[in-house]
Symmetry: C2
Subunit: 174 residues, 2 copies
C-alpha cells in the first residue's frame, strides 16, 4: 500500500508549518519522509530543528501519496534546486495530492503547476500567484482537484484536516 507523504524543507521554514504536518501525518497513520536538497538538519525561522532524511533523487515516488510544502523563507531556497522543483512537477503530473501553505506556493509557481487553478497563499506573494496563472482566493483553504493551499499558520487546523482526508483516500485507492 502507498503510504508515504513527502515534506519538503530547506532552511528557515516556518516552524509550525513544517512541524505540525510532520507530526499530524504520523498521527494519521501515514509515513512522513522529510526531503531537502541535501540530507541533514535544517532549522526553522525560530530555530526548530528538522532532519531531511532524503534528497529528491532518493525518493521512491511510486510509494508516495502526496507532498506538503511549508512556508517561511524555505521555499525561496528550495526553488533554486531544479530537482526539488521537478519533484513537485512530477507529483502533480502523477495526480498526487499537493499541499502548500503560505510561501509554499512559491514552489508551485516555480514548478508551473498553477495555470487555470484556484489557489491561495500568503498575501505578500499574491501577485506572483496571479502572474503564474492562478485564480487567487482569500480563504483559509482552497481545494482545486488534488491541489490544497492555505495562507498562514492559523489555517493549519483546516489545511491539515483537509489534506489528511485526501491523503487517506489516496492511500486506500492506491
Amino acid at each position: 500500500m502507498k503510504n508515504k507523504v513527502l515534506l519538503l524543507i530547506e532552511r528557515e521554514f516556518e516552524d509550525m508549518e513544517a512541524m505540525y504536518p510532520f507530526y499530524r501525518i504520523q498521527e494519521a497513520g501515514l509515513d512522513v519522509e522529510v526531503v531537502g536538497p541535501s540530507r541533514g538538519i535544517f532549522h526553522g525561522k525560530y530555530g526548530y530543528p528538522l532532519k531531511a532524511t532524503s534528497t529528491p533523487s532518493e525518493c521512491k515516488i511510486d510509494e508516495v501519496v502526496g507532498i506538503i510544502i511549508p512556508g517561511g523563507h524555505a521555499p525561496d531556497y528550495m526553488r533554486r534546486y531544479p530537482e526539488m522543483v521537478a519533484l513537485v512537477k512530477d507529483a502533480t503530473a502523477k495526480g498526487l495530492t499537493i499541499g502548500a501553505i503560505c510561501h509554499g506556493a512559491q514552489m508551485l509557481i516555480e514548478a508551473d503547476v498553477l495555470r487555470g487553478k484556484r489557489a491561495t497563499c500568503y498575501m505578500a506573494i499574491k501577485t506572483d500567484l496571479i502572474n503564474a496563472g492562478a485564480s487567487y482566493e482569500d480563504s483559509e483553504v482552497v481545494v482545486d482537484g488534488n491541489l490544497v493551499t492555505s495562507r498562514f499558520p492559523a489555517d493549519l487546523p483546516v489545511f491539515m484536516s483537509t489534506l489528511v482526508g485526501m491523503l487517506k483516500e489516496m492511500q486506500v485507492a492506491a
Copy 2:
C-alpha cells in the same frame, strides 16, 4: 455543550509540545484556551510565540473538558503559581481529562494527583514522578483513568490521538 480545552503555558515551553496541541485541538473541533499566570505572549524554548488569553481565575471550569500541560522549562515556572497548580488539582477532582507530556508531569507532581497512578514523563524527572507516588512506565503514552502522559516530542502523534479521542468523548458525554 462543553467544548473547551485549557492549554497551560509559561515561558520556555517546548515549542511543539504546546503548538501541536494548540492546533490539533482546533482541528478536532474543540475550543482551545491558552492559560498562563498572566495574560500576554509567552515564548517557547526556540522562541515560538503563543498568547495566553486568560489566567486561572478567569477560566470557566464548567465549560472545560480537559487540560493539556506541555513540557520544556515552562512547568518549572508554572508550578510556582498556586492558582495554576490548583487548576490542575480541581480539574482532576472533577474527573476531567488531563494530558501532560515531558516535564509537564512536574505540574502533576505539584498538584499531588499522581498517588497510585501509572504515568510516564521525561527521563530526567522519572525519580520525582516515582517519589510523588506514581508507578513509572517507559511507554510512548500511558493512560490511567482520565490521566494521559507521554515522554517527549516524538510521542506527540500518539499522545494527541489518544487525548483527542478522550476529549471528544467527554464533550459528547457532557
